[in-house]
């Protein structure tokens, strides 16, 4: 295979911008910008090149199931008459969705084979989506394969988690901090819960898989809140994340309540756009672009200029990443997650020296909550100030009081089916205030307990009524830390509605930022995606 003869991947790097540095690629929704950064005081952080994938993923999975960490091999835990529940990460992972076969399909098929061999016939397969939207039939088929879908879905044994089912949820106890641990009743009553994860970023996995994925509003509100998010520095760094501390406390309550979890965690490499193919240049460094890359890029951006946004969105949303499995480990949750995190860091961490005055980022067309959907302004905020801003370990990339400049079209657009409560949040709540603390105090409960949103969450494909609040909280740490947020190329009204400053070009944005950080600020560009995590010293 061609991939196998790939040169050894180079680690991530920090480029000091000088006058010979070519314009830098900025993702910009369903499009791109190339920007000249100020020479002499700017740097660009590049992600590592994709690590080599495992040569035999099927074999690696089998070995992990048979040789788990700190637990008996899976077959030894399976017996006839037992209740087995397989829960898996939903459509929000990985990003963008990966080419078939999906990791979840590969893992679950092997788990089901072992269960069949052991004579287990009470098996439920649950999409652990917490308060995310339900997955459609097509999406479930894509993630799990037709064989599993056709075998389990018609009999009602393969379904989406329903956190608002009054008969389907239980509270298993309370942490010493007073946090209620709410859990799927089926999972709680199972003899074994097998969790199948795709650990795209360091935030994912561990106890968060189950304690969050199979919970509901009653449990989530204890860590999905402004205070927790402001105390998670960052939520990508497990050891300094209050979000994770809470989930870990809940994990202990689950364990003490007798919930037995067999955690299967997987990691993928950075091969988001392919080492060859039409988007390959997106994961190359600009000065290494070949003539072919440059021609392809010009052709693509020119084409996009004349493509209606709706169609461009469809084109990008249909992109399937050629991700490769880089590790798979199974067994006891915490021990497994330790190994997983190391594997994630191996791909993502890039050492960076010191903070910057201005952090720039080009936001892509996708975030965890708009797969096959619309990237609405609230999701733009969440992707930039939630995910990208928090992709650090140690200290934030940008100094306290500094400025984030993000590029994205930020259109006043919403998916009416997937994001109904977002529309009302944007029209009503943000029109009133953008302060997360005030929003939480005044509006959260009303949206969370709204019958119509609950109806849509349960019967249609809508994110839960409270979900837009979580998106806003995800950015709470950044909002507290930053002096100014500027969006380049966004819809002016939409940007202003969120309390940010609109700018039409990066030059304008830098000019606006000079009010906050002076005339000669240092600039750092986060060249993401493919994903990188800054290890800031």
């Amino acid at each position: 295979m061609k991939d196998r003869v790939r040169p050894t991947p180079r680690p991530g790097m920090v480029l000091e911008v000088d006058r010979s540095t070519p314009p830098i690629l900025f993702h910009h929704g369903e499009g791109f910008r190339t920007e000249k950064l100020p020479a002499g005081r700017s740097r660009v952080i590049y992600p590592a090149e994709p690590l080599l994938g495992l040569a035999d993923p099927e074999g690696a999975i089998r070995r992990a199931l048979l040789n788990p960490i700190d637990q008996d091999p899976l077959p030894a835990q399976l017996r006839p008459g037992m209740k087995l529940t397989i829960a898996f990460d939903d459509i929000s992972l990985p990003l963008p969705p990966m080419r078939r076969p999906d990791i979840r399909q590969m893992v679950i098929e092997q788990v089901l084979e072992m269960a069949a061999a052991a004579g287990v016939d009470d098996v439920h397969i649950i999409a652990a989506l917490a308060l995310h939207r339900r997955m459609t039939e097509d999406e479930l088929r894509y993630c799990l394969g037709d064989r599993t879908y056709d075998a389990f879905a018609p009999s009602g044994c393969l379904y989406n988690h329903d956190a608002e089912d009054p008969d389907g949820m239980v509270v298993l106890g309370t942490t010493p901090h007073g946090e209620e641990v709410q859990f799927s009743k089926r999972a709680a009553e199972s003899d074994l819960v097998v969790y199948v994860n795709i650990n795209l970023v360091a935030m994912d996995g561990g106890h968060k898989s189950t304690a969050t994925g199979l919970a509901g509003y009653q449990g989530l509100r204890h860590h999905h809140n402004v205070k927790t998010m402001q105390e998670s520095k960052s939520f990508m760094d497990q050891h300094r994340s209050e979000l994770h501390a809470s989930n870990w406390r809940m994990g202990k309550v689950l364990r003490d309540a007798g919930v037995k979890i067999f955690q299967i965690e997987t990691t993928v490499n950075n091969n988001t756009f392919g080492v060859d193919g039409p988007l390959a240049m997106l994961q190359k460094r600009e000065w290494e672009w070949t003539a072919k890359d440059r021609a392809a890029f010009v052709a693509m951006t020119t084409g996009l200029k004349y493509t209606p946004p709706q169609m461009a969105r469809q084109i990008f949303q249909s992109w399937r990443a050629p991700y490769e499995l880089t590790s798979v480990q199974a067994g006891e949750v915490e021990a497994v997650h330790k190994v997983t995190t190391e594997n994630v860091y191996a791909q993502h961490l890039v050492p960076v020296e010191g903070q910057t005055d201005i952090l720039t980022m080009g936001l892509p067309y996708i975030c965890p909550y708009n797969v096959n959907s619309v990237m609405n302004p609230i999701l733009v905020m969440c992707l930039g100030l939630g995910y990208f801003f928090n992709l650090y370990r140690g200290r934030p990339l940008v100094r306290e009081g500094g400025v984030v400049i993000m590029g994205h079209p930020t259109r006043w657009e919403f998916h009416p089916v997937h994001h109904p409560s977002y529309i009302d949040f944007f029209e009503q709540v943000l029109a009133d205030t953008t302060d997360p603390v005030e929003i939480e105090a005044r509006y959260e409960r009303q949206f969370a307990e709204d019958e119509w949103y609950i109806h849509l969450y349960r019967t249609s494909y809508a994110y839960h009524g409270v979900h837009p609040f979580y998106m806003w909280y995800w950015g709470a740490h950044a909002l507290q830390h930053l002096g100014e947020v500027i969006i380049v190329g966004g819809d002016t009204r939409a940007v202003q509605r969120m309390g940010f400053r609109p700018a039409s070009t990066l030059q304008d944005a830098l000019e606006i930022a000079s009010d906050t950080v002076g005339r000669q600020p240092t600039v750092t560009h986060l060249h993401n995606p493919p994903i990188l995590m800054a290890d800031v010293s």
Partner: protein, 770 residues
């Protein structure tokens, strides 16, 4: 002294709820001690006394006297000196009882100033009031054997549209007098009313009214169409009578039916007066007060005001007239004073007729007015809806024919455009353009009306002599001249127009004289607050194009294709698309028939499968095509404690997922048999006017008030529903409703689909592999 001569006298006055009458009452009450006033007023619903209180004594004309005396003393004075008598000069017998007749016959002086002054009155109204009114009064006085001094208020324009001098002499003495019998004219006008009424009920004509009503309202249901048809009929009769008046007046050389009937009245009174001592006072065009009781006092919208406002708003881009022509205007206080002077002097057989006019001795020219108005409106512009000042137009004084031709051409063009737009399937903001057109056409109609009616006055070249008026003036003592000034020579026109009259007219016209400044909530915001107030009881919603941009055909297409193989799906959709025009036509004709016809397609559909697929269609079609703002509005109503109701022709299983939004759903239901639908309606959905009935029944059963309820709908076929509630809201209205809603000042909402959301071009179901 005028006040001495009139002190202690008893005066009967008619027309005191009018402009001149009110001014007269005020002047007499203020300046003549112990005068006794007997006011003949139409009793209305709550009696003559009530009308006198409300419509005369409360008028701001009495502010001066009230301030002078204090409220208590003023009230006492009114109670002591004013007596009301219920009566109506427009009907035979004057509507008087014996006591009323006695009271009036016992008066020393009778001032008859009641008139139908509008220049566009129907002929018979003008005849009954202007001609027969004084005739009846004079006849009554003769019958009672009374002989008070009878002062008839007429108009200078009885002289007709003529050039040159029009002296203060009886009409019969004038060179232009065409003798006609006033009795014949009165009979003819009454007969004309009867024949016109008969003609309006002609089958062909009724059919025409009906088709016009249908064109205007669409499929609004029988009662609404019937009401509209009747309205069109009576409006037609009225128009015919107005036209009859105008043409008869013109045929005899009068500018309009008012002047014509007034002239007949003068002739008639002269003929039948017997021993009665009659004086006639002929004012020209009466306008706002020059000084008494305060400068600028005016009552009601007078003749010139619509033109002045129309000019200031840029509505009348041009106006016919002779630039140097004299516009004979006389302030109301001068007329009232002149009448007082005539009353005080008593009857003088040599000076029976007195004209109160300015043209002959202090002429005010048409171009002078236009220049003054132009200057004034340039400095004090009226603002349009977008808060932009409107520049006053430059009039070129073309001939009347040219202006009329231009306006008529414009009207024809607007009508044609509107007809074309009315046939296009547009709605919402695009439909606004038809409402704009409609407004524009209304403006043109109004302009045309003004030009046709008032053109004659601006073109009038008669000079009204005032020799006798001046003689009377000269005979007055100095103190009377002070207190009862009626000398037209004192009028300083630029001062009168710029400082007194235009500010008054603009204030009366309730036009925007300053940008709104965005200080408070807009009108729409205020209406929204009203609609969502906790005081409301119920909110009813139509579904199609009000809450979602989908219809029963799309829903059927989606459900029918969901389980079909790919090639058959395309065929089915193509078939539906081909049928679309005929379905649409049927829908426009009769919604119930359409639904009954269309729903037969569900024959044999398995009930369980429909329920399951409808659940999926909810996401793929209904929510995708929904208006988030509409759904938010339903929820806001619920949050405000209102009962929410959905009224739709859609099928029950299709709207089932919307149930959590509504307290009550009125929809169609199909009959079932052996687990499948039969295609027959088990529950016929209410359409057009029956929607209002269904909602009313529901409201009654629940103890909710329709007058405190809100209804949302998009089409004129829902007119009955919208009219049935106190707070109608037009949502994304189609052209007809857009026009109606704008005219009636209803709240109009534009609900859009979620911007950037997926678009459903064809009603094809998301594939279900089965």
């Amino acid at each position: 002294m005028i006040s001495d001569a009139l002190a202690g006298k008893r005066l009967a006055i008619t027309g005191t709820t009018g402009f001149l009458g009110t001014a007269l009452v005020e002047r007499l009450l203020r300046c003549v001690p112990d005068v006794e006033l007997v006011l003949l007023v139409r009793p209305g619903r709550r009696g003559a006394e009530h009308r006198i209180r409300r419509e005369i004594i409360r008028n701001d004309v009495f502010d001066r006297l009230r301030d002078q005396l204090g409220t208590d003393e003023f009230e006492r004075l009114c109670a002591q000196q004013i007596t009301g008598v219920a009566g109506d000069v427009g009907i035979d017998g004057l509507g008087l009882d014996d006591a009323g007749r006695e009271l009036i016959a016992g008066c020393d002086i009778i001032i008859h100033s009641a008139a139908a002054v509008a220049f566009d009155n129907p002929l018979d109204t003008a005849v009954e009031v202007n001609l027969m009114g004084p005739v009846r009064l004079v006849q009554m006085l003769n019958e009672m054997g009374a002989s008070p001094h009878f002062i008839a208020v007429s108009t200078c324009y009885v002289a007709g549209s003529r050039r040159g001098n029009a002296p203060e002499e009886p009409l019969a003495d004038g060179p232009m007098y065409v003798p006609v019998s006033w009795q014949d004219e009165a009979d003819a006008s009454r007969r004309r009313r009867i024949t016109t009424e008969t003609e309006s009920r002609d089958p062909a004509r009724l059919e025409e009214f009906r088709s016009r009503a249908r064109h205007e309202l669409g499929a609004a249901g029988t009662p609404a169409l019937a009401a509209k048809t009747e309205q069109l009929r009576s409006r037609w009769v009225n128009d015919q009578m107005v036209e009859a008046g105008r043409s008869r007046a013109a045929s005899l050389g009068f500018p309009d039916a008012y002047a014509f009937t007034k002239a007949l009245a003068e002739t008639a009174v002269t003929e039948i007066k017997g021993d009665l001592r009659v004086s006639t006072v002929r004012p020209s065009i009466i306008e706002s007060a020059y000084a008494e009781p305060f400068p600028g006092w005016i009552r009601g919208f007078r003749m010139a005001e619509p033109i002045i406002i129309g000019y200031g708003r840029g509505l009348l881009t041009d106006f016919p007239g002779i630039p140097q022509g004299v516009l004979d205007v006389i302030p109301v206080d001068l007329v009232a004073a002149a009448i007082c002077a005539v009353a005080a002097r008593g009857h003088d057989p040599d000076q029976e007729i007195i004209q109160v006019a300015s043209g002959a001795i202090n002429p005010f020219r048409f171009n002078q007015l236009v220049d003054l108005a132009h200057r004034w409106f340039s400095e004090n512009p009226i603002y349009d809806d977008r808060d932009q000042p409107i520049p006053p137009p430059n009039w070129t004084y073309p001939g009347r024919g040219r202006v009329v031709r231009q306006l008529k051409r414009l009207r024809t063009g607007l009508n044609a455009t509107e007809r074309v737009l009315g046939r296009l399937p547009i709605r919402g903001r695009q439909a606004e353009i038809t409402a704009d057109l409609d407004e524009r056409r209304d403006q043109v109609e109004r302009a045309l009306g003004y030009v046709e009616l008032y053109g004659a006055y601006t073109e009038c070249e008669a000079l009204f002599g005032v020799e006798r008026l001046l003689e009377l003036w000269d005979s007055l003592e100095g103190s009377d001249q002070q207190e009862f000034c009626f000398d037209p020579r004192i009028i300083d026109w630029p001062h009168y127009v710029g400082d007194i009259h235009l500010p008054t007219v603009v204030a009366q016209g309730r036009v925007k004289t300053a940008p709104s400044g965005r200080s408070g909530p807009s009108r729409r915001d205020r209406q929204r607050i009203q609609v969502l107030s906790p005081d409301r009881h119920m909110a009813a919603f139509d579904l199609e194009n009000t809450v979602i941009a989908a219809n029963v055909v799309m829903a059927y297409g989606w459900l029918a294709t969901r389980r079909l193989p790919v090639d058959e799906r395309a065929r089915l959709v193509a078939k539906i698309l081909l049928e679309a025009p005929s379905l649409l036509a049927l829908d426009h004709r009769d919604r119930s028939d359409f639904l009954r016809h269309f729903y037969r397609r569900y024959q044999g559909a398995p009930i369980e499968q429909m329920a399951e697929d409808s659940g999926e269609m909810f996401s793929d079609l209904i929510l995708t095509q929904s208006y988030p703002a509409a759904i938010r509005r339903v929820r806001q109503h619920r949050a405000a404690g209102h009962t929410t109701v959905l009224i739709t022709g859609a099928l029950d299983f299709i709207v089932e997922p919307l149930r959590p939004l509504f307290d009550h759903i009125v929809c169609a239901e199909l009959a079932q048999s052996h687990g499948t639908y039969t295609g027959q309606l088990a529950e016929v959905p209410p359409t057009s006017e029956s929607r209002a009935e269904v909602l009313r029944d529901f409201a009654n059963a629940e103890g909710l008030l329709m007058s405190e309820s809100v209804a949302y709908a998009d089409s004129a076929s829902d007119l009955a529903l919208l009219e049935a509630v106190g707070y109608p809201v037009a949502v994304n209205p189609e052209p007809k409703l857009a026009m109606l809603a704008r005219k009636r000042g209803w709240l109009i909402e534009y609900f859009d689909k979620a911007p950037g959301g997926p678009r459903k071009l064809l009603p094809i179901g998301s594939r279900k592999a089965s």
